[in-house]
C-alpha cells in the first residue's frame, strides 16, 4: 500500500496538489477560458475535472490535447498509468465566472480593443447573464499619461462580511506589456435568489408579509357539557352553605 502519511500532512499535500494543478491550468489553458478545477479521489482513480468555456479546444483533435495533459500530470506527480483521469466540463453561466471574464477581457485588450469598449462589453454581458452586480477595474500607466485606475460597474455590490464569501467571485489578471503591467480586476456578485445551496438572500433581507384578513370575533358563549351533574352539585352545595 502507499506509505502511511499523517492526516495533517495528507491534507496539506492535497492542498498543494490542487494549487499546482490550478496554477498550471491557468497558464496553459488561459485561451480556452479555463475557470477552475476539481479533484475527486476514488479508490481506483483520481479524477481531475477541468471547467472551461471552450471545451472543444481543451479536448483537441481526437482528444489529443487532453491526452497530452493527462500524461504530463501523470509523469509530474508520479501517478501510475491509468490511475489519473482528466475530464473537461463546460462552465455553465460563464457570464458569472469572474475568472472567465477576466481572461476574456485580457484577450480583448491584447487584441487592441479600446479599454472602455472592452470593459463595457464585459459589464453588459455579465449583467445579461443575470448577475446582481459587477465591477471591472483596469489599473496601470498608459504611455504619455499618468498612472490611473479606471473603474466600470453596474448593479449592486457588497464589500464586507460573510455574504462576500457566499456570493462574490473575484479574479485578478496581469496584462504584461513591454512598458509595464496593466492590472485587471473583475468582481461579480451573483443573484442570491438563484443559489442552489446555502443562503438564498442577504442576511439583512427582510420580507414583510401581507396582513391576513381579519376573522370575525365570535360572541363569547358557554358550552355546558354535563347539565344534570352540574345541577346536582349546585343543589348539594346550597343546603351545605345554608
Amino acid at each position: 500500500m502507499v506509505a502511511i502519511i499523517s492526516k495533517k500532512r495528507k491534507l496539506v499535500a492535497d492542498g498543494v496538489f490542487y494549487a499546482e494543478l490550478n496554477e498550471f491550468f491557468t497558464r496553459e489553458l488561459a485561451e480556452e477560458g479555463y475557470a477552475g478545477v476539481e479533484v475527486r479521489v476514488t479508490p481506483t482513480k483520481t479524477e481531475v475535472i477541468i471547467r472551461a468555456t471552450h471545451t472543444q479546444a481543451v479536448l483537441g483533435e481526437n482528444g489529443r490535447r487532453i491526452h497530452e495533459l493527462t500524461s504530463l500530470i501523470q509523469k509530474r506527480f508520479k501517478f501510475a498509468e491509468g490511475t489519473i483521469v482528466l475530464y473537461v466540463e463546460r462552465v455553465q453561466e460563464r457570464g458569472l465566472s469572474a475568472v472567465a471574464q477576466a481572461e476574456s477581457l485580457k484577450y480583448k485588450l491584447l487584441n487592441g480593443l479600446a479599454i472602455r469598449r472592452a470593459a463595457y462589453g464585459v459589464v453588459r454581458y455579465v449583467m445579461e447573464s443575470g448577475a446582481k452586480g459587477v465591477e471591472v477595474v483596469i489599473s496601470g500607466k498608459l504611455r504619455a499619461a499618468r498612472a490611473k485606475s479606471m473603474k466600470f460597474h453596474d448593479g449592486f455590490m457588497i464589500h464586507s462580511g460573510q455574504p462576500v464569501r457566499d456570493f462574490i467571485d473575484v479574479a485578478i489578471r496581469h496584462v504584461l506589456m513591454r512598458q509595464g503591467v496593466l492590472g485587471i480586476k473583475v468582481k461579480i456578485m451573483r443573484d442570491p435568489a438563484t443559489a442552489r445551496f446555502g443562503p438564498k438572500s442577504l442576511p439583512d433581507y427582510v420580507k414583510i408579509l401581507d396582513p391576513k384578513e381579519e376573522e370575525d370575533v365570535a360572541e363569547p358563549t358557554v358550552i355546558a357539557y354535563k347539565q344534570a351533574a352540574a345541577e346536582e352539585e349546585a343543589a348539594e352545595e346550597a343546603p351545605v352553605e345554608a
Binding site: L109, L110, G112, L113, A114, I115, R116, R117, A119, Y120, V123, S139, K141, L142, R143, A144, A145, R146, A147, K148, S149, M150, K151, F152, H153, D154, V175, M177, R178, Q179, G180, L182
Partner: protein, 213 residues
Amino acid sequence: MIYIIEHMESGFTEWVTLEYSQIIRDIGAQNLILSSLPATTTEADIPKPLKDLGLQWTTKEITELTTEDFSVIPSSGISKDQTCLLDPRAESDLVPEDSEKFQFFVFGGILGDHPPRDRTKELSIKYGFEGKRLGNKQMTTDTAIRTTQIIIEKKTRFEDIKFLDYPEIRFSKYEATEMPFRYVIGEDGNPILPQGMVDLIKRDSEQSIDDLL
C-alpha cells in the same frame, strides 16, 4: 522664487502640455524655466498653447544657465546652495523657513507610475542639489509646484494645507477613474486639476493597447 522643471519625458504629450500650461497660469511665465530639453529642440517642437503662454525653455542644464538665457537668473548664475530639489525620497520636509535659504526650486517633469519608480533619483544624482520632501504621496507636477508655492510664498506649513488623496472622478453612473496622487483642495472643495485635464482623463479610457506601445 524661480521654479525649474527638468524635462524628463520624451516630447510634449497632451498631458504634459496641460499640466505645464496650468503651472504657467499659477506662477507666471517668467518664474518658470523648462530645462534640459533635447539638444535638437526648436521653437517648432514646443506646443502652441505653451508658446502662447510664454514658456521659457532651454536645452541647457540647470547649472549652465546664465543671465543671458533668462533675465530672472542672477548674474552669479544658479548656485547649488540656493537650489532645492523636490524629491519624495528626501530626508526632510519643505518648511516655510526654507524660503530664506532657497531661491530656486527644481522639479522632475515626470509622468509617474504607481507605485512610483523613483525617477527623481536620476536628478539628485545628476545635480546633487539639496533635497526636500512634500509629504509621502506622489503628486502631479502642477500640484507639486502649487504646494511649494503655498509653503514658500504663502508661508503655510505642509500640515495646514488641505489635500485630497486618490480622488475618484466620476464620469457617469457606470464609470469612474481614480487618480493615485495627492491633490490640493481648492476653494470650491474639489481637488485642483489643470484646465482640460478631466476631459483628457475621460478620453484616456478610449485608448487601446496599441496606443500604449
